[in-house]
């Protein structure tokens, strides 16, 4: 057989991140290529006759027509195996701490860095015996990856057979931990798998979601909850609090694994996570948060094609942990930057633009990304379930929600947390507008809340929401004709609505005691405010004046319920009875003085 030595093509043109190569043999769509003498990584995204279009994941300045191009014959893939947790990668899974060590403070072009450490040894413990028949997804053994994560070494998709050998011990990710007898002969299995990022990992089937992802954020858990395996989006203008909410979810939600993708956003925000998470303690495990977290950082000044890839890199790792049976939550901040990366590359390709210059395939790309979420029956012989929740930030230009990225996202997500600058300016945080936001999971989660929080939880939520809606209508009237035109009951509703906003909805992420609230405390807090409402309404009916109701001493305590520590929730119950007592006392006084 004659070897083809002319395996290389040449650069024909360079236009930003888009390079056109010519005479590249064996070019296949979405295969990776090495471009130029510096071997910059790129991906084949178009083939027209002998011209091959490549999006390059690194800065292309200095490239020249005539430089060599070769294909790797493999699509963009990530490495999966122990060592992902606690690590930080760029959009194409290059480990940033390795790059720091090899190349200094600034990331030069053409650095190669292998995602998973090849020298580190992991303690592998088999869970199957020799002679057992195994199928894709079956767990062969386990590795304690971090203090909280047991990494399950699974039979890769597409492989089945009987275990011929397997042994415990310390192995690197490349060493063989088991050998399978398969119809195609013996297959060696190591702890390292590769998976193409643009292909969803397989599972048996999707399941109904029925459990909330508890976030400790009151407006989210109580009013607009997301389910484990659910999808949410959080659009809002700059500075309205998207990143803070996403960080809060990464910190406090009760997922077991967090994948946080900084997609085209600020470098310092990633640094923030990197410095804070190793110090913060996960309330569920008592271990540092970094022990359950994977970070992807492709910041706004890093190459735009790698930014496009970053969300796929992240979600593939997230699926991998889901397949082990974990509840995984992924945050993408911001999906708009991902969409803009698509637009930028599409523009350089001179494709026919759709809305606002975005490519016509924007909607389908967004939909298929979010579709990779869900609660699933894992691929395996045993009964194993995992979930992947996806929460995407959206950054609409000028805060205008009618733009294409927001609209295409709203078409596929089930939860919408709409942030508003008007609220952020008042420092009402989280600035989630309660009138426009929604969660379509409320029905699915109903019984969970009833059984685990309070039988009347949904009634309280509905009542609070009704009061807030009334407030909006009443304020309209006040703006037109002034507060005098309102009845005392209506004025009281305004006061209660203010209390719901200030004492319940507002939650400061930067105050220790306020940053996380358990469902139980959320329930009691809401109850405090609404008992005051109900007692107040009763008292008004019985002839008490608004001034009387507003001046009962316990109101000062209502204004400080968020500062009641989690372990002293009895104090909240105490406030509830105080409200009832003081209201009764007022009524007695009133009745007496009327006599």
């Amino acid at each position: 057989m004659v070897m083809n030595i002319e395996k290389k093509g040449v650069i024909f043109s360079v236009n930003g991140p888009v390079v056109i190569a010519q005479n590249l043999p064996d070019a296949k769509m979405y295969d990776m290529a090495r471009v130029g003498t510096k071997k910059l990584a790129g991906e084949i995204i178009g083939i027209h006759g002998s011209a091959v279009t490549i999006q390059v994941y690194e800065e292309t300045a200095g490239l020249q027509p005539g430089e060599p191009v070769e294909t790797t014959h493999e699509p963009l893939s990530v490495e999966l195996g122990p060592g992902l947790i606690g690590n930080i990668f760029d959009g194409t899974q290059r480990p940033l701490d390795v790059i720091l060590k090899s190349s200094g403070y600034f990331i030069p072009r053409g650095v190669e860095a292998i995602p998973l450490d090849r020298t580190k040894k992991w303690d592998f413990k088999p869970v199957v015996k020799i002679g057992i028949a195994v199928q894709p997804g079956d767990v062969l053994g386990e590795v304690q990856e971090s203090t909280t994560i047991v990494h399950k070494i699974m039979v890769p998709p597409g492989l089945s057979g009987t275990v011929k050998s397997i042994k415990p011990g310390a192995f690197t990710v490349e060493q063989t931990i088991a050998v399978l007898d398969t119809p195609e002969g013996e297959k060696k299995i190591s702890m390292l798998q590769r998976w193409p990022v643009r292909t969803p990992r397989p599972y048996v089937r999707k399941l109904n979601v029925d459990e909330p992802l508890i976030t400790g954020q009151r407006v989210i858990d109580t009013f607009f909850p997301i389910a484990k395996g659910g999808v949410a989006c959080i659009p809002g203008p700059f500075g309205s609090g998207k990143t803070v909410v996403q960080h809060q979810l990464a910190k406090w939600s009760n997922a077991e694994v967090i994948v946080f993708i900084g997609c085209g956003e600020r470098g310092n925000e990633m640094t923030d996570v990197l410095m804070e998470f190793p110090e913060l303690i996960d309330p569920y495990t008592g271990e540092p948060l970094m022990k359950r977290t994977i970070l992807i950082a492709n910041t706004s000044n890093m190459p735009v094609a790698a930014r496009e890839a970053s969300v796929y890199t992240g979600i593939t790792m997230a699926e991998y942990y889901r397949d082990m049976g974990y509840n995984v939550a992924l945050m993408a901040d911001s999906t708009s930057r991902w969409a803009e990366a698509m637009r930028e590359i599409s523009g350089r390709l001179e494709e026919m633009p759709g809305d606002e210059g975005f490519p016509a395939y924007l909607g389908s790309r967004i939909a298929s990304f979010y579709e990779r979420s869900g609660k699933i029956q894992c691929l395996a012989q045993e009964d194993r379930q995992g979930s992947l929740s996806v929460i995407g930030a959206v950054s609409p230009p000028g805060g205008d929600l009618s733009e294409p990225v927001t609209q295409n996202t709203l078409r596929v997500v089930q939860v919408f947390w709409g942030l508003e600058d008007r609220l952020a300016y008042k420092r009402h945080f989280p600035a989630i507008n309660w009138l426009i936001s929604y969660s379509l999971y409320i029905q699915n989660l109903e019984s969970y809340f009833k059984e685990n929080v309070g039988f009347d939880f949904s009634d309280l939520r509905a009542l609070a929401m009704r009061i807030l809606q009334q407030e909006a209508e009443l304020e309209e009237i006040v703006r037109l004709v002034g507060v005098e035109s309102l009845s005392f009951k209506e004025r009281f509703i305004l006061e209660v609505a203010r209390s719901i906003r200030e004492d319940f909805l507002q939650q400061n992420a930067f105050v220790d005691i306020d940053t996380f609230t358990s469902l139980q405390k959320q329930y009691l807090m809401l109850k405090v405010v609404l008992v005051y409402y109900q007692e107040g309404m009763k008292a008004l009916d019985q002839g008490l004046s608004l001034r009387d109701i507003l001046s009962i001493p316990v109101r000062e305590r209502i204004g400080r319920i968020k500062f009641v520590p989690e372990d002293q929730s009895s104090k909240l119950k105490e406030i509830i009875s105080e409200i009832q007592d003081q209201m009764k006392a007022k009524m007695r006084g009133e009745v007496e003085s009327n006599v």
């Binding site: 024909f12 043109s13 360079v14 930003g16 800065e59 300045a61 200095g62 490239l63 020249q64 027509p65 930080i88 790059i99 720091l100 190349s103 200094g104 403070y105 600034f106 990331i107 030069p108 203008p237 700059f238 500075g239 900084g262 085209g264 600020r266 470098g267 310092n268 990633m270 640094t271 990197l274 950082a297 910041t299 706004s300 000044n301 735009v304 930057r337 803009e340 930028e344 523009g347 606002e356 210059g357 230009p397 000028g398 205008d400 952020a424 300016y425 008042k426 420092r427 009402h428 006040v478 703006r479 002034g482 507060v483 005098e484 200030e502 400061n508 930067f510 105050v511 109101r555 400080r560």
Partner: protein, 467 residues
Amino acid sequence: MYKEYTTISEIADPLLNVEQVADAHYMEIVEIELSDGSRKRGQVLMTSSGKALIQVFEGTEGIGIGQARVKFLGRVMELPVSPDILGRIFNGSGVPIDGGPEIFPDDRLDINGNPMNPVARDYPIDFIQTGVSAIDGLNTLVRGQKLPIFSASGLPHARLAAQIARQAKVLGETETFAVVFGALGITFEEANYFMAELRNTGAIERSVLFINLADDPAVERIITPRMALTAAEYLAFTRDMQVLVILTDMTNYCEALREISAARREVPGRRGYPGYLYTDLASLYERAGRIRGKKGSITQIPILTMPEDDKTHPIPDLTGYITEGQIILSRQLHRKGIYPPVDILPSLSRLRDKGIGKGKTREDHSDVANQLFAAYARGREAVELATILGEASLTDTDRIYMKFAERFEATFIRQGEYENRTIDETLNIGWELLRMLPKEELKRIRDGYLDTYYVQIKEAAAGVQEG
């Protein structure tokens, strides 16, 4: 030794097409010699076998087909650096214009820089006292932050930026900031104002200026901020200095970018600005910050004027999406005669919370700031309601808030251009204002601080003020 061509085939200001080129490098710098012997510089925007598209920094005026010679220099745009750049003034493409000697460089740096590895970054946490209450108290600037000023035509952004440059210091440190100033298409007067300010305070010795004026070539503005930021990175991370970068006016920069994009007939994004405006701006604004284990830092204060005072215009909008907050100036406050006319509600410093508090400013700082924001927001609503329906339509509490808002503007926001308030002074003014409100309204303030500050200051003030 350089490749030289006379094969310009097409000119569409500010772009040139050159044919029969043997393989130009993408982003390579070219020199164009005109028939009269004068020279211009440009940069390769697109290269393909035998063809190169070039943007000419000085514009294409005077260039003709068949006459001009295009020389490919084989390297990207570079800035020669050495400690001697301090105290010097350059034009927008880095040529000295102060009559001083040439720079003998230690190094030549690619002005596009490389992205800072997020793992290498150190989070900015050092409080910078600017002496301006609206900033220090509420929208605190931190060393290594990028905090732009959103202004509009006719507002005193230059004076405010100069005041910050003059007064900025990190508490407990003696080292002053080195100032890197990038003028992007501003008037001679405005540039002169900054130069005079720097001279008067003696800061010029520790400054580097890059000046592209309104009548200088527009395309040059694409490289001026990159020159300035390259100088800043050199001073901060090679020379361990604390650098403050002022870039003004970023709006002119974006206009230049739009001009080139239009000349290339690219698919425009919002309002005619190129779809990559976000990425392009990020490649500038992200060149700020600190590095782990390094002494130096870059703090950026870009200034931009909002077209039609509109915050949702792509230039302020995309800037706000990249920077770590924004200081917004208000025409309304300016008309009321309030300096600095900082519109504090939409203003924001995202790094505030890590830069303040016990040991940095004062333990009560964050709570005071949050309470002032909330109270002023409510006061402004009350003011608006009162203008429509009359003061009588307000509740008693809202009337108090209205008074609060007025006093707040008059005593907290307003201050002298040369008044340098300490952070203690700023916070105490804040507490004096909060005293106007009943205690149960102060929900943003934790119990301990309420006892210490509200009561103390109220008591202390009671004797003096009541009556």
